[in-house]
């Protein structure tokens, strides 16, 4: 039999894999940065923990209830923020995470700062592994479905996705809610493995840890988050003996991973997700396509010259049908140039 130390490490790995997979649906697939994923885990953990320890609810039922309550909070946070374009979700989820932590800290039933004790050790490697399997399987089915396709389209180009008939808010909120539900279930497992809950376990630092796993492994792919979670769960344990610094300043490395991966290998270790071909491609047809194009400023023709030549060209066209090739010179070049970039990169 494996030692209790490795057994525990395996259970933690399972919990982290579920967390990474569920965050990946939101951030990797739908392209929405969430910085409060640990809060959903906390909601699930406390809900399930209180249900079994205080109300004597069976473990599996409590686990599901934890997932449902986390999903409910996901809906509450997601509905107002996901309607909006851009970066508000990141800040809102960060703030939400803090509010949840403060709330748990100030509640009686959660044990406040002393933590929640006396939860039965119901989880084991088998339940954790089963949960991983189920999470992986459902998320795989989702990503390969009509729903997953819509999420990818939203990530790639929100305006175009909306114009193609996709209800953007609905899909983003759904992804967010499903992600939250799985985080809640992971929390329930956490509660019934460690038997003790403290609000600080579900603080911002945990959310960053999960995000680092997804980014390191590769956003938007299925294998990426799994590999990222495994690597980042084991690396500190392996390095712990080598250096005290590593375990004391884990967060330092997570920060560095996030920056360095974005600069050097945004597609992650696996490299099959969002930034499949590095960063240059989405620059052309990416999340913020038109923005990127505008940023490319100097490479594009000036609007003035284009307008002039277009007007002259049209004036000629008024007399006799204008030769198609002529106009291409004015409007076409900028576009052709971008096309050229793409091929050079792929």
């Amino acid at each position: 039999m494996i030692s209790p130390y490795y057994y525990q490490l395996l259970v933690i790995t399972c919990i982290n894999v579920i967390m990474a997979l569920s965050l990946n649906l939101v951030t990797g697939c739908a392209g929405q940065l969430s910085l409060g994923h640990a809060a959903f885990m906390g909601i699930g953990a406390y809900t399930a923990g209180i249900l079994t320890s205080v109300y004597g609810v069976p473990f599996l039922l409590a686990l599901i209830a934890g997932g449902v309550s986390a999903a409910l909070f996901g809906l509450i946070v997601g509905l107002p923020t996901l309607r909006l374009k851009g970066d508000y979700l990141a800040i809102a989820t960060l703030g939400f995470g803090e509010i949840i932590r403060v709330t748990i800290l100030n509640m009686k039933i959660t044990g406040g700062a002393f933590g929640l004790r006396g939860i039965a050790k119901e989880a084991n490697l088998a339940t954790a592994a089963a949960a991983v399997f189920l999470a992986y399987w459902t998320l795989m089915r989702l990503m390969k479905s009509r729903f997953g396709r819509a999420l990818t389209a939203i990530r790639e180009d929100e305006v175009a996705a909306g114009a193609m008939g996709i209800d953007i808010t609905r899909h983003k909120v759904l992804a967010f809610v499903i992600g939250a539900a799985w985080a809640g279930i992971a929390g329930g497992l956490f509660a019934h493995w460690f038997r003790y809950l403290n609000p600080s376990s579900f603080a911002f630092a945990r959310s960053v840890e999960i995000l680092s796993m997804v980014v390191l492994g590769g956003m938007g792919s299925l294998e990426g988050p799994v590999i990222g979670a495994v690597v980042l769960t084991y690396a500190p344990e392996i390095l712990r003996g080598a250096s005290d610094f590593v375990s004391r300043y884990r967060m330092f490395f997570y920060g560095a991973i996030l920056v360095i991966m974005m600069l050097v290998r945004p597609q992650g270790l696996v490299g099959a997700g969002v930034f499949r071909n590095g960063l240059r491609l989405p620059e052309i047809h990416g999340l913020r396509g038109s923005k990127a194009r505008r940023m490319q400023g100097p490479k594009l023709r000036t609007q003035e010259t284009a307008k002039d030549s277009q007007q002259h060209a049209f004036a000629k066209g008024l007399g006799a049908a204008m030769p198609g090739g002529h106009r291409k010179g004015s409007t076409g070049t900028g576009v052709r140039q971008r096309g050229g970039d793409q091929h050079a990169d792929s």
Binding site: P80, A92, V159, M251, V259, M262, L279, R288, K291, P298
Partner: protein, 289 residues
């Protein structure tokens, strides 16, 4: 009641200083500079170290802190944001949050987790006007903040670089076609925003007599909330938003328990996002199609 207004003004003006950095950077790059709270913290540390130089007057220490933070701000832009300027926004956002965590924990590793006292370089006096009690800190914070904001106003409205900044915020492509060195403008924006945050860091660090590596997180977030409240991208908005948030927080704490101090800001954020996401002075930030 009047006492609360003064307290709110003092707190709010520091939020405003932080919010200005967010809003200016968002104006030119459409990016939330998550590391802004850490710049504030680094500013406080720099100010603390400078003030320990014997014989250095306080204004000089403040200036050193602002200059140091400006350098850090420019470096952050150079390292973590500029290479990603043409990348999808998600990449820049992740890089920004990574930078924030990195800097906080780098400081933690170098300076240690302990909270340091900020020795007061002048004699603290207490004034009473009727029932209203004001001390030197309140005066210093208000005077410094207002002074900096007036300075910023002239810089942005009158100076050549300020005009270039506004042009870049309007349309980066056209600005660069008009011969504006966009990279320089962006670096300058980071420098100015960071210097303002550092000033806030020094003032707060001194007022609460506490400087520590994670001190930037909450004020950083609240500065952002203030910027959203005033309308992200709007400089007067950031000032008004900061003051309003400070007021709301002081009033809120007076009414509720102080544990909820931090939740008030996020409650306000939620309300703004629900009712008027563009904020008080927010223009149309709609993407061009």
């Amino acid at each position: 009641m009047l006492q609360q207004v003064v307290n709110g003004l003092t707190l709010g003006s520091t939020y405003a200083l932080i919010a200005l950095g967010y809003t200016m950077v968002y104006g030119v790059l459409r990016l939330i500079n998550f590391a802004h709270g850490e710049v504030y913290m680094i500013g406080a540390f720099t100010g603390l170290m400078a003030s320990q130089i014997p014989g250095l007057p306080f204004p000089a220490a403040l200036l050193i802190a602002m200059a140091g933070a400006a350098v850090v701000g420019v470096a952050i832009e150079r390292i973590a944001y500029r290479p990603l300027r043409k990348a999808p926004r998600l990449a820049a956002l992740i890089s920004a949050i990574g930078m924030s965590i990195f800097l906080r924990n780098l400081t933690l590793a170098v300076m240690g987790p302990q909270t340091r006292a900020f020795p007061v370089p002048f004699e603290v006096r207490h004034f009473s006007i009727g029932r209203l009690r004001i001390n030197s800190f309140d005066v210093l914070i208000l005077v410094t903040s207002v002074g900096l904001m007036i300075g910023l106003h002239f810089l942005v409205q009158k100076a050549k670089i300020g005009k270039a900044m506004r042009a870049t915020a309007q349309d980066m492509e056209t600005a660069s076609l008009m011969g504006i060195d966009v990279n320089r403008v962006i670096a300058f924006t980071f420098a100015v925003g960071s210097a303002l945050a550092a000033a806030a860091g020094v003032l707060i660090g001194m007022n609460f007599n506490a400087v520590e590596p994670s001190m930037g997180m909450m004020p950083g977030l609240k500065g952002f909330v203030a910027a959203v409240l005033g309308g992200v991208g709007s400089i007067p908005g950031a000032m008004i938003g900061g003051i309003l948030l400070g007021m709301a927080e002081v009033m809120g704490v007076a009414l509720l328990r102080s544990e909820w101090r931090d939740a008030i800001a996020f409650g306000i954020l939620a309300l703004v996002l629900l009712i008027k996401p563009s904020g008080i002075f927010g223009g149309n930030l709609q993407e061009k199609v």
